[in-house]
């Protein structure tokens, strides 16, 4: 058991860009080799009952659970509120949800967002990670998709997100 954090805040903030770029390199390499795709996995299973890619996504959920569990014993301070739904007696509150939006509002956003994420991902041939990897393989259509994603992020933060909070507050969600 370790009390507190393994790395203090002053050092941790310096390590964020380094750690994430290394993580990205590893994931980029693995996903180029395996064709890893979450949406593609579910699509292949529904269409062809193929489980190759789906296994990857299921492995991700299980591996995340197992390692969060293990690390929650080693460094409890860094894995706060693990098993989120068991905290505070409230089953349905979201991690990192906008504070102005209630749990019901987050669920509405999840459902609307999820349907369109699945739909667009299926029609355009891949989840965002697959699009990044296809860009790296020289696919110019995916490159345009990634540029669109970046533009979409700015549009969301600057315009859509305040609008959603305003609209949800107005209807009391």
């Amino acid at each position: 058991m370790v009390e507190g954090f393994l790395i203090a805040k002053e050092s941790a903030v310096l390590l964020v860009p380094i750690a994430t770029i290394i993580l990205g390199l590893v994931i980029g390499w693995l996903c180029q080799r395996s064709g890893f795709c979450s949406i593609g996995g579910i699509r292949d299973f529904i269409l062809f009952r193929q489980t190759r890619l789906l296994k990857g996504y299921i492995a991700l959920i299980i591996s995340a659970f197992v390692f969060y569990l293990i690390f929650s014993f080693i460094v409890p301070a860094a894995i706060p509120k693990f098993l989120w739904c068991m905290q505070d007696g409230q089953l349905l509150t979201a991690i990192g949800g906008a504070p102005a939006v209630s749990a019901a509002g987050v669920i509405v956003l999840m459902i609307v967002g999820g349907i369109f994420v699945g739909l667009i991902g299926t029609l355009l041939g891949g989840c965002p990670l697959r699009q990044l990897v296809m860009t790296s393989e020289g696919n110019l259509k995916s490159l345009v998709f990634v540029i669109g994603m970046l533009a979409g992020a700015v549009i969301f933060t600057a315009l859509v997100s305040p609008w959603i909070i305003e609209a949800f507050t107005a209807i009391g969600l």
Binding site: L23, I70, G113, L119
Partner: protein, 176 residues
């Protein structure tokens, strides 16, 4: 080149080609990053996310260029406030995948027509807006489910419904 070197490396590559390994590694690495660096800022289950990490990166660039103050997650905002950089996962993924594609001779420029560029561009914008509505791409969604966030399960079910609708539309288009 690696592609036609020793059998041992071919053996390793055949493991790396399994999506199962990729998924397990992403889950482990995301948990490890949180275990090591949670002091830098939250939220939880933020180790790997294509949508959120792209958002942090592009908003950082936008903020530096225009002097505006768009939102970054604390995990990126605190490093930026301390004078370093936000999460660079996306750059890592692009570089790592280019390296693998070039090394295994799978890099080929594929062009589309003008109409497909418009469709993909608009698709990318809408995709990101809806993904950020969820506060997750499918990957962070998986991390959140692993973290025990039941709300994320609604997101996964919605994605499956969306994929089902997408398949129906695609099949119908092929019939016409």
């Amino acid at each position: 080149m690696v592609a036609n070197s020793s059998d041992e490396k071919k053996g390793l590559d055949s493991y790396l080609k399994m999506p199962l390994v990729g998924g397990a590694v992403i889950g482990f690495a995301a948990a490890l990053i949180q275990a090591l660096l949670f002091a830098a800022g939250g939220p939880q289950a933020y180790g790997f996310c294509v949508a959120c990490h792209s958002r942090d990166l592009i908003n950082y660039v936008y903020n530096s260029l225009t002097g505006s103050n768009l939102f970054l997650a604390p995990f990126s905002a605190n490093p930026v406030a301390a004078g370093t950089l936000p999460v660079l996962t996306i750059i890592g993924v692009l570089v790592g995948a280019v390296a693998a594609a070039v090394l295994y001779k799978e890099f080929r420029v594929k062009k589309g027509d003008a109409k497909s560029y418009v469709v993909y561009g608009i698709g990318g914008i809408l995709f990101m807006i809806f993904a950020l509505c969820m506060g997750a791409c499918p990957y962070r969604l998986a991390l959140r489910i692993g973290y025990g966030d039941l709300v994320a399960v609604f997101g996964l079910i919605a994605i499956i419904v969306g994929i089902y609708i997408g398949i129906k539309i695609a099949l119908k288009r092929m019939e016409d």
